[in-house]
C-alpha cells in the first residue's frame, strides 16, 4: 500500500489521531509518520498527562472492562499505568496487553522486537526467526526464478519444521 499522504513511498505506519473527538486515520510511510509525530517527543509521549490523552480514543467499553481488572503479579489497575505512564511490573504488559496495544503502537510504530533473545526463549524463538528468514529468502529466490537455490532453501525449511 502506498502512503496516503505523499502517495510515493510504501506505507509502513498506521496513524490515528483524535482531536476533540474528531478521529483521523491514515496509512503513512516512515517519513510522513515521523513528520506527523515530530511535535511530540518520545519521552513526553508516555509520561503523565499525555498518556491520558493518548488513551482517550480507546473505546469506553474497554475502560469499563479495565475498571475492575488488576494485574496478577503486582495487583495495580490500569488507571495507575495511565496516570504514571509506567508499568507496575513486567506482568502488566501481558495482563493489560489489549488496553496498552494502541498506546504502544503510537509510541513504537507498527513494529515488533527484532533484537536479542534471552536464554530460555532462544531455542524456541531462534528457530522461528530462522524460519521466517528462510521463507523470505525462498520468496526472493522464486521471484528471481532461481529455482535451484529455492529448492535448497525449501529443504532447509522442511528440516527446521521437522525439528520443531
Amino acid at each position: 500500500m502506498k502512503c496516503e499522504r505523499c502517495g510515493q513511498r510504501e506505507a509502513t505506519y498506521y496513524y490515528r489521531e483524535n482531536i476533540n473527538g474528531k478521529e483521523t486515520k491514515a496509512h503513512l510511510c516512515s517519513v510522513c509518520a515521523s513528520e506527523k509525530e515530530s511535535s511530540f517527543s518520545l519521552g513526553d509521549f508516555f509520561s503523565g498527562g499525555i498518556v491520558g490523552q493518548m488513551l482517550s480514543p480507546t473505546p469506553m467499553e474497554k475502560h469499563k472492562r479495565a475498571e475492575n481488572k488488576r494485574c496478577s503479579l503486582c495487583s495495580c489497575d490500569f488507571s495507575y499505568i495511565a496516570k504514571t505512564g509506567k508499568a507496575g511490573c513486567p506482568q502488566c504488559y501481558i495482563d493489560f496487553a489489549p488496553l496498552m496495544e494502541d498506546a504502544l503502537k503510537r509510541l513504537h510504530g507498527n513494529t515488533v522486537h527484532k533484537g536479542r533473545i534471552p536464554r530460555e526463549y532462544r531455542e524456541k524463538l531462534g528457530t522461528r526467526r530462522e524460519q521466517e528468514q528462510l521463507e523470505k529468502q525462498l520468496r526472493e529466490a522464486i521471484a528471481a526464478e532461481e529455482y535451484e537455490r529455492a529448492a535448497v532453501i525449501r529443504d532447509k525449511i522442511r528440516s527446521l519444521n521437522s525439528e520443531m
Binding site: L42, G43, L73, C74, G85, K86, A87, G109, H113, P118
Partner: protein, 328 residues
Amino acid sequence: MYWYEKEGKEQDIFLSTRVRFARNLRDYPFEPALDAPSAREIIERVGGILKPLGYESVDKERGVLYEKRLISREMAEKKTPSEIYTKDDCCIMVCEEDHLRIQAIKSGLDLEGAFKACSEAEQALDEKLRFAFSEELGYLTHCPTNLGCAMRVSVMMFLPCLSEAGKMKMIERELSRLGITVRGSGGEGSGAEGCLYQISNSVTMGVTEEEILENVRRAAESIVLTERELRRRMKEADEDKLRDRLLRSYGSAMYAFLTDSGELYRFYANIRLAAILGYVPCNTCIIDKMLFENLPYHIISRKGELSALERDKERARAVSEMLRKASS
C-alpha cells in the same frame, strides 16, 4: 583508574562511549510496588552471580559516582535499597528504575568495545536469571519507551565550535527525526555545560542491537565532520584572537582564587580546546579529570562539608595545582 583518565580514540571530540542494557526479573514488580525486602533479595541474587566473576560492590558516595558519569542521577538520589557492582569498564546498577541497568563505559570512541563488554556482563546474568521478556515487545522495562532491545548507546562529545555557532538546536532537530537524542552531558534534563553533549538512540523497538550501534555511529560521524570543519575555519579566520581568548581563560583558571562550578565548566571548555589546538601543554585526560574531580560532591568528599565560598576556594586551588603539574 576511571574512564576519563585513560587514553581513547578520537579524544579531541569523544570523551566516552557507553552501552547500557535495561533488564528486569520476571517475578518481581517495579518500584514503588517493589518493597525493601524484595529489593534486597534481588541485590543478593545479582551479587551472588557477579561477585564470583570478580565484580565488587561500590561504597563510594553516590554523588561522586554521578559526577564521574558512572551512575544516573536517579541512582545517586535513591533512598530505597539499591546496589552498584563494578568490574573493569562495567558498572551494574541494581534496583534503579529497572531491576538491572548493565552498562559498560569506554574512553573515547569505542562502540564495539563497549558493546562487547556490556554484552558479556549481560550474558553472564542471563545464564542465571529469568529476564522479563515478551516475543513481541522484547525486554519488558519499567518505562514503555525502553521496550524492545532495552539498549541505550551513547557517546559523550565535546562540541565547542558547534555550540558557539548556535548549531546544536538544529542538529538536535535533525537527529530526532532519525531516532537519535541530543542531551547535555549529565543525562536527562541537564544543560550542556562545558560544551559536552550526549548523543544516544531513542528508538529501541523494531531494530537489532547492531542497528542501534550503527545508527549512533552514523549520527556521531556526521557531527564530528561539522565540528572539525568549524574548528578549522575558526582557526583560519582569526587564529590570534582565538588563541588570545583561550589562553586568557587558561590564565584565569591558573590564578583564580574563587572558582564556582559554572566557571569551572567555562574554563574547561576553553582549556580543552586550547589543548587540542596545541596552545597549552596538557593532554585532554588531565583536563577532563580537572573537570570531573572538582565538581561539588568531589570537593565535599575530599574536604568534608564546606560552605559554598570555601568550596569555590578549594576548587580554584585544585584546578590551579592540576594545571601547574600538567605543564611542568
